[in-house]
Symmetry: C2
Subunit: 227 residues, 2 copies
DNA sequence: GTCTATATTAAGATAGAC
DNA sequence: GTCTATCTTAATATAGAC
């Protein structure tokens, strides 16, 4: 397997799939190049080192996703008013478009985001803070517009809860889809999962904080400890 | 540093902290034993291999948490009726109790769960399917009791969204707490985060699925693509 | 039970011929 | 740009003295 000038792309294609499935640390350059059918040394030639390869893989997707999300948010912000579900729907088309961009692109992207988020090396944080901070800011604005009653502190926490639900779900979307198709006996595409997710996230984001005193537990908690 | 018979415990204590912070694969036995102040070979002597050490670390926490959660859910299920917030509150006391069990136990536990969930080796799945399936079943029942109108399919998906929000948030709770304390200028304990999380999860779990046709996007999506 | 010393394997990276 | 061969490092694991 030699000769053609698309070695770089073949490495990226193989790497993104392996990274998504197994994680960055768990995927060796040898596994990648062997799957790609290229020589081990070519990774170093084309990307310098493994860290740069990881960033190239993430960057290819982020560059396809983030500007599209930014546009959707911009448009929504130019409306007179909006609902929380509309805010989250802004991500729907950009995510689904990734399936045209690459086979299983949407699922792969979300798995990569999930991997990158808990990653020690902070690849994803690097992208967000150096390139896409603006899009995150638009998202914050849109959330505030949809529900101005939310305090900044509530927005902060709810956004992170939301990230967790979205990233985590999509990162394990393949496994979940298999289980769901088996248990409920019907086929599911990425869009169906996204359509389940949007109302969940919107409802959570709009949630009112409960009034709780410090140390309060369920009324029956005390009895349950007695034996 | 030698002699005392608590080598096994010292290894567990060092390992849980390092695993929580850096992940299983990213933490070497050398790092663990050096932090614990014990000899490298003692890991193998006391635990056999690294895989068993990981399970021992997870198991110590799960054994402290799962039975307590099960009891809370049992008690709730014996009531005449319950709300969704009460269902999620069942986890509150068992989680917070971990802070008595080990320093920063609650945060460490959730970080470990987060690591274990995306872990390739499936340590966590192993525990759940071999030991704690019963507790998960109680949780499912409680959710159904709190909102019988939810279809089994909706419950399935919402539980996974919930797991994502909870695990992901708590796994990065230390970082989030730092940011929040800096931005909003007040101290936060684990209980405060849990109290934020519960109403969010309850609202999401109770969310009604939106009525959407296949392929529907935002009304303004078409225009935003024109240039 | 604990230690030193070492076997074994796998990984990232690079030199240098073509 | 691509290949073979190799360097270097770091990890798990174990043997065997104490």
């Amino acid at each position: 397997m030699a000769g053609r000038g698309d070695t770089k792309a073949k490495i990226l294609d193989a790497a993104e799939q392996l990274f998504a499935e197994h994680g960055f640390k768990e995927t060796s350059l040898r596994t990648i190049t062997s799957k790609a059918g290229v020589n081990l040394a070519s990774v170093n030639y084309h990307f310098g080192d493994k860290k740069s390869l990881v960033r190239a893989v993430l960057g290819r997707y982020l560059e396809a996703f983030m500007p599209a999300l930014g546009e959707q948010l911009q448009t929504l912000l130019s409306q007179r008013e909006c609902t929380m579900a509309q805010v989250f729907s802004c991500a729907k088309q950009p995510v689904l478009a990734l399936d045209q961009y690459r086979p299983h692109g949407a699922a792969t992207f979300m798995q990569l985001i999930g991997r990158g988020y808990t990653d020690v090396q902070g690849h994803l944080r690097w992208f967000i803070t150096t390139r896409y901070e603006h899009v995150l800011s638009l998202f914050n604005q849109a959330v505030h517009k949809a529900n101005p009653a939310l305090t900044p502190e509530a927005v902060f926490w709810h956004i992170h809860f939301t990230l967790g639900a979205a990233i985590f779900t999509m990162a394990s979307s393949e496994a979940l889809r298999d289980i769901a198709e088996n248990d409920f006996d019907r086929t599911l595409d990425t869009e169906a999962i996204v359509d389940r997710l949007i109302p969940y996230l919107a409802a959570g984001m709009n949630a009112e904080p409960a009034v709780m005193q410090q140390g309060q537990v369920l009324p029956f908690a005390a009895e349950s400890q007695a034996d």
